[in-house]
């Protein structure tokens, strides 16, 4: 089902909830909201909370027919993510009340099982990188922020990171 049809199915059933459409909505958008949360909040628990809150608010508005252009469902959910994260940064809570009224499927909110990478293989692939590439990759993922003191310009750091992650992916896929 396309996004627009999904939005119409949810909005078109004010008296009888379209559980299948709502479940599909959660299945489709939960991973995107979670990644948005991880990217902007850098915290798994905060990202899981964001998923729950955004899905609840989005479903509430969709059911009420407040999405004017169903073709823009993805933008609508993204806008809600931005608003909730902004509110969180301002310290404003919007979820009170909503939590009592809405039940989001647990499997949509929980972290999916991450892809498993074989540890020794990954260590070997990291070892195969140059010293600077390995430092950039480890620091980047450990700190989850740009590395400030590797004595390289931001542009050069980006080039090193691209090259290193390209090599790392290729090495892991060759396993």
């Amino acid at each position: 089902m396309q996004d627009a049809a999904l939005a119409r199915a949810i909005a078109g059933s004010p008296h009888a909830i379209d559980a299948a459409a709502e479940a599909e909505f959660c299945r489709r958008f939960a991973p995107r909201v979670r990644l948005y949360g991880l990217r902007h909040l850098r915290d798994r628990h905060a990202a899981a909370d964001l998923v729950q809150q955004v899905l609840m608010m989005a479903l509430e508005r969709l059911r009420a027919g407040k999405l004017r252009d169903p073709e823009r469902l993805a933008s609508f959910v993204l806008g809600m993510c931005r608003m909730v994260v902004m509110d969180q940064r301002r310290g404003t809570a919007r979820r009170e009340g909503l939590l009592e009224e809405w039940v989001i499927p647990e499997e949509a909110v929980e972290d999916p099982e991450p892809r498993v990478f074989e540890r020794d293989r990954l260590a070997g692939c990291l070892e195969a990188l140059s010293e600077r590439e390995r430092s950039v990759v480890i620091a980047g993922f450990f700190e989850e922020s740009p590395c400030a003191d590797l004595k390289v310009s931001p542009g050069n750091l980006r080039v090193i990171r691209h090259r290193a992650l390209g090599k790392l992916r290729a090495c892991m896929e060759a396993a």
Binding site: D3, R28, F29, P31, R32, L35, Y36, L38, R39, A74, S75, V77, L78, P112, P114, R115, V116, F117, R119, D120, L122, A123, L126, E127, S130, E131, R132, R134, S135, V137, I138, A139, G140, F141, F142, E143, S145, P146, C147, A148, D149, L150, K151, P154, R158, R161, H162, R163, L165, G166, L168, R169, M172
Partner: protein, 175 residues
């Protein structure tokens, strides 16, 4: 690396300009394939972080990563050596990492190579202002080893050739 994956890497590490990031997020929210690829990148990052935390990987690290590791409460055993210096060293079961701080005159140095009994490691990260190279062997490997001596040499490399910055000796004993 494909342009699409490069864009995902830039997005994840905050390397996109603000307007480009907003446009990319709009695309991401409507793209199942991009969502899957970003989730894979995030999973790879988690695996790299776990491999590093578990001591499976060695690296020459930046000061920022060193500070971040301390900030996370990891147990770091430190050895500070000056050129020509030697140290009796070990790693205890409770240690998460051993960090060897090799001081050297690095003010005008463009590239540093590290030479050990294990080989030559070119272009390692260094902190010119602090005059230090932070060497971090893989703790899991170190904990399995018996008594050994490791000799390390730092070389400054530029167009004119190379010169020795310092020699350092580690007399390792199991704890």
């Amino acid at each position: 690396m494909s342009a699409e994956f490069a864009a995902l890497v830039d997005y994840w590490f905050g390397d996109l300009p603000r307007e480009e990031e907003a446009a990319f997020e709009e695309h991401l929210f409507g793209c199942d394939e991009c969502t899957t690829k970003l989730a894979e990148l995030v999973a790879l990052g988690g695996a790299v972080r776990a491999a590093w935390r578990d001591g499976a990987v060695r690296a020459v690290i930046s000061r920022a990563l060193f500070d971040a590791m301390k900030g996370e409460g990891l147990c770091l055993r430190e050895y500070a050596l000056t050129p020509g210096g030697s140290v009796q060293c070990t790693i205890a079961a409770a240690d998460d990492f051993v960090v060897s701080r090799l001081s050297a005159p690095l003010a005008d140095v463009r590239r540093v190579d590290l030479v050990t009994d294990a080989g030559r490691f070119e272009d390692v990260p260094f902190d010119a202002a602090a005059g230090e190279v932070l060497m971090c062997p893989a703790p899991a490997v170190l904990k399995r080893r018996g008594k050994f001596t490791l000799r390390a040499r730092l070389l400054a490399v530029d167009d004119a050739g190379e010169r020795v910055l310092g020699d350092y000796t580690f007399e390792h004993s199991p704890s």
